[in-house]
Symmetry: C2
Subunit: 236 residues, 2 copies
Amino acid sequence: MRHPEAMNDQQPGQDATDSLEPAKAGVSSRRIADYLRTAILNGELAPGTRLRQEEIAERLGSSRIPVREALRMVEADGLVTVKSYSGARVAKLDFNEFDTAYRIRERIDPLALTLSLQEITDEDVARLEALQTEVEETTSPDRFVALDRQFHLATYTGCTDKQLLATVTRFWNTTQHYRRAYAQLIDDRGRSIITYEHRLLIDAIHRRDPVDAERFLSGHIRRTRITLAEHPELFD
Amino acid sequence: MRHPEAMNDQQPGQDATDSLEPAKAGVSSRRIADYLRTAILNGELAPGTRLRQEEIAERLGSSRIPVREALRMVEADGLVTVKSYSGARVAKLDFNEFDTAYRIRERIDPLALTLSLQEITDEDVARLEALQTEVEETTSPDRFVALDRQFHLATYTGCTDKQLLATVTRFWNTTQHYRRAYAQLIDDRGRSIITYEHRLLIDAIHRRDPVDAERFLSGHIRRTRITLAEHPELFD
DNA sequence: CAGCTTGCGATTGTGTCCAATCGTCAGTAG
DNA sequence: CTACTGACGATTGGACACAATCGCAAGCTG
């Protein structure tokens, strides 16, 4: 399997070693951008948190210049918003933005999956099943979120298009906060629905059936959106 | 009508005054990014062109720092690629990337249109018809490309979601080069097909019919992709 | 002559200093 | 007491100087 852990928009050249820590090598601005992305996705930096350039620079042992470039990159990812002379803050999606992000995912994730089916190997499918077993067994909400994410991104292993993967990942990222919050309050019934849908999805992938795969996936994402929308307390 | 000319990812606050020139106000890095985007989309900077920081800085009367931030932003737009210690170049899409970009557009442009229909006014529709008349009347390929782009983006006037518009615009941008090249060799038959499809689209928008609007639009984009793919000479 | 090595020039990456701008909080007038 | 105003501090934006890295070409070696 290729890159199940492509959480960040890694540039070609460096592998996403399986760690949750940002890469240690390469140019500062990219390392800093990775650090920020990881911290935001992990929830260490909550939405709305102010990001002061000097503080980040000091913490990572560099000067403000690479930090500023990193902030521009992460801004383009939609994870922070930068206002002139006012500073950067961790981005916060309101309900409408959340809703639209999910509707976008309902359309492009299935495309990535269809393209992935053309290249996916039996080993990839076996890895998917193993991941899904882990998803089902874990009891930790944080670990569930991470594994669920790994599982879905792993279904796109066979998709080779950088732009599409970057776009798919982008909307996974901007909505990550809400999945994390939801995982804290999901019940057994919700878990079993997810399990059922994932198993259907794996089966369609195993059969290399793009129609079923797309149908199951878009339905899965749609139901997730609807379920999340039923919890208004997640949106301030 | 709101922002028919939203070619670049304008940040909130500054209006996209109808000019083709980048904005003159605001922070340097954004102005420079706008300049680069506009120059690339106009074809003044051909794919593969090397972008040296100092040259850009000198031309725009600033130092390299804001240029570097601008390059990071435009890199995130997919319009340039930056390699460490090696420099930035205007991005070039190969055939597969072109194909995928269009398939993405076939899925998300209709979504933007459907969301737009909920807010679009009769004045907006009238503006669309006027634009389409201009499209039909022009004989200049360059002007045709610009007007066709304006027309389509104008159909998304009612879509208020920034992320979606930014994503839609992104793929318009990365594929702009091929539309420009194709416009040079399009024939009357091609033009009349486009006219017909645009008129159908306007009618569906006028009726606020999301099903027809999406069907016509995705078909229009799909046929454009297929037509472009029939000209391998466009891809090196 | 081919292939490798090395050194130089060009270009990018980073650190430091100064200028521009924004938010806030006193202070004052109404 | 409220609303406005102005000045100050904090923070970001920009310019310059220097270090790090890469690509290429000249030169050496077999």
